[in-house]
Amino acid sequence: MIRVAALLVVVSLMSLLAMLADTHAGTAIAFAFLGMPALGLGMAVYAYHIWRPVRMTKDEQSLYRLAFDTLRARDFVDLLTLGTWEASDAGDTLIRRGDPGDVIRVLLSGAVSFRVEGTEVGTVGPGQLVGASFVVEESVAWGDGVVTENALYFAWPVASLRRALEKKPALRAAIQAIVSRDLAEKVRTLSQGNSTEPS
């Protein structure tokens, strides 16, 4: 949509420059009846791009409320374009110890239990992140994540997420705040005696 708006503005400005270079009836007609409407249309397209209503599915709305309500809805919808919804059944292994940290997931429903050498160290539930530390630094998983209840989650490739956040410092700060909040909650749960995901 930005390209369409830019193209219309280019048409408008080209007609203006033609009129300025050689003003006669033809160029004046082109400027008045083509250039100015093109400019108006280009600005309208751009305005729609800025102010178009944000639409989310029910699952996306739930996920937004659970974990991302500190973001602007439009930024969240833009982030969704980088990832996909996935589902796993109980018993599936979501992540293994030593796997590269190239995907970050956030649960909408279900539960994932994390184990280190067979010992359960914590569980992750709706609204919580799997692989939160991968956003902070390049690392590998140091535990196994096994789905204990059928899980629906949203998965982002870490590389795509990092590239998108590099261009939007404010959004990057907001995502880092969400990651920090998730990690802090897990540390608090761990210190209260409940095990947590070793990420």
Binding site: L20, H24, A28, F33
Partner: protein, 214 residues
């Protein structure tokens, strides 16, 4: 004497070239930003707003001001083929009222059409511009009727603006008759027709055929 010698060349408007430069500068800056947006598909929002909204708005506003001024030029009016016979008549000193004024320099040669056809005061200028837009629409649609004629009577304020306070105008017996004065002011009669020759000869109102290409 050489008609193209510097003495006979209109000095031109020193302000106008600068006026044309300003909108062009804004337009080129906006074009650069739009070209980058076309290639990359995205830009910082502040840069994008400058390139798609603010700079083009300023450029077009200034461009409109330049066009308003340049459209007063005789060259602009006569750039339409339908006006060419009128221009030739005015320059030929053929006895018509328009050629009489142009030949004696009583209207500026560079704005001879606008001087007589723009009416009086700011509203006169505005109505002339609106009429100009209508002319462009007719040109686009090739929908003008020949011979050309005014939709309403000629606005004699264009004549009175220069003549009303001159001694020679006031000395004419016919101009002192109250009934004639009232008829003129009520637009029941015009300066041309009954007393003065037509502004343009009838043969000049038949338009001209556009030159055919090779």
């Amino acid at each position: 004497m050489d008609a193209l010698s510097p003495l006979f060349t209109h000095p031109g408007d020193l302000v106008e070239p600068i006026g044309g430069f300003l909108p062009a500068a804004f337009a080129i800056a906006a074009l650069v930003i739009c070209a980058i947006a076309l290639v990359r598909g995205r830009l910082r929002s502040t840069v994008l707003e400058a390139g798609i909204v603010f700079l083009p708005l300023v450029a077009v506003a200034l461009g409109n001001a330049v066009l308003m001024e340049r459209s007063k030029a005789t060259d602009f009016c006569t750039s339409c083929h339908v006006m060419m016979p009128i221009q030739e008549s005015a320059e030929a000193d053929d006895g018509s009222l328009a050629s009489f004024h142009v030949a004696r320099g009583t209207v500026p040669g560079s704005q001879s059409c606008y001087t007589c056809h723009s009416g009086y005061g700011l509203l006169g200028d505005m109505s002339a511009k609106i009429a100009g837009v209508n002319h462009m629409i007719h040109t686009l649609r090739a929908s003008y009727d020949l011979p050309l004629k005014l939709r309403a009577g000629f606005d004699i304020d264009s004549c009175l603006e220069c003549h009303a306070e001159t001694r020679s105008f006031r000395a004419v017996d016919a101009h002192q008759v109250p009934d004639i004065q009232e008829a003129l002011l009520e637009r029941e009669m015009a300066c041309t027709g009954a007393c003065h020759p037509p502004a343009h000869p009838p043969e000049a109102l038949m338009g001209a055929v556009a030159e055919e290409g090779p």
